[in-house]
Symmetry: C2
């Protein structure tokens, strides 16, 4: 016998957050970091993110400053672009940029023997990027770290949470060692919903 | 010290599938069901889906028949529409339909005091739907089951894998008891990447 919870549509998110807080108990995250953690668990149904998420100490502060300055958000896949709250972002003047499916990206990847995700990052360094949010492609995250190291790209915050089995956990372990602002999730888990949850949590905080 | 795997872009998916198969070992799924399971684990980095996924015995057969007949795929959120391989689907003549953000859906939800996800399903029953794929909204899945029960809607396959804390696991437990074709994932986990992975696995099998 399955019993459904009777609840008004506008109450579902708040009730979900209450359940998460109750089951999770106290954590070591700052209140702003916890907003990201809570929304990630809400998006995945997976409490392991409370253990795997890592924040650079300035991650939230610099992310919020970038949003408020009207800077753009660079994502690796179009699914992420669909998930980020455009209504909130445009209020600050920013927009979501995703170049992975553009013809010039496809051509560059073919020419250089890289993934399209790699080429899409290289083609976006002059796009006034405040936050990079990568939930899918380890090669995109590796390229962003390389471009930053080379002094060619300077986003305010790198949200790097690619999911998968080939270089995903490795790329995130590298990101977690950086001295510039990042949010990451150690291990194989992650994904576009995690990247989107982090961005949307920051948009609400801003 | 982090060591990256050197691998050609076009080999990443195949190598990921090999890792999944090696770590998972033998399963009780049919080869076609396993294609769905494997792609779901690939999309989430989460092996628990090998335990949580449930298939009606005719799920894969009817899903493939619907795709080959050129029928459309109904999804609950635009993120899912972005993730489903349009290149593969259009080859068969179908398209992805998502009405959740349409003005008439918003108006209907407001008038009836339901979620937009609920209203979007009600507005799509005459859209030649072969597969319904719900990864986000339990209310969308509950509405689809209600419409089928009432004889108002007859999709060939219901992929119902909403994620979350309010009625998500309950809605999936209900779906798992149905005598019409379904794919579901018991428990709180699920999400748009799971729904998309299931659809894309079927598109590749077709």
């Amino acid at each position: 016998m399955v019993t459904l919870q009777q609840i008004a549509p506008q109450e579902i998110e708040a009730e979900s957050f209450r359940i998460i807080e109750r089951e999770l108990g106290p954590t070591a995250f700052s209140p702003e970091e916890f907003a990201v953690v809570r929304r990630t668990i809400h998006a995945t149904g997976d409490f392991s993110f409370a253990e795997n998420l890592r924040f650079h100490p300035q991650a939230v502060t610099t992310g919020l400053a970038a949003i408020r300055a009207g800077k753009n958000i660079l994502v690796d896949v179009n699914m992420a672009a669909s998930g980020i709250s455009a209504a909130l972002l445009t209020r600050f003047g920013g927009r979501v940029i995703c170049r992975v499916a553009e013809a010039d990206t496809v051509a560059m990847a073919k020419q250089n023997g890289t993934t399209r995700s790699d080429a899409a990052m290289a083609r976006s360094i002059a796009d006034n990027i405040g936050i990079v949010a990568i939930g899918n492609a380890p090669t995109a995250l590796l390229k962003v770290m390389e471009l930053i190291e080379q002094g060619l790209f300077a986003p305010n915050l790198v949200i790097g949470v690619p999911v998968g089995f080939v270089n995903a956990s490795e790329s995130k372990e590298l990101l977690a060692q950086k001295n510039y602002p990042f949010i990451t999730a150690l291990g194989r888990k992650g994904g576009t919903p995690v990247a989107v949850a982090a961005v949307n949590a920051l948009l609400r905080l801003a």
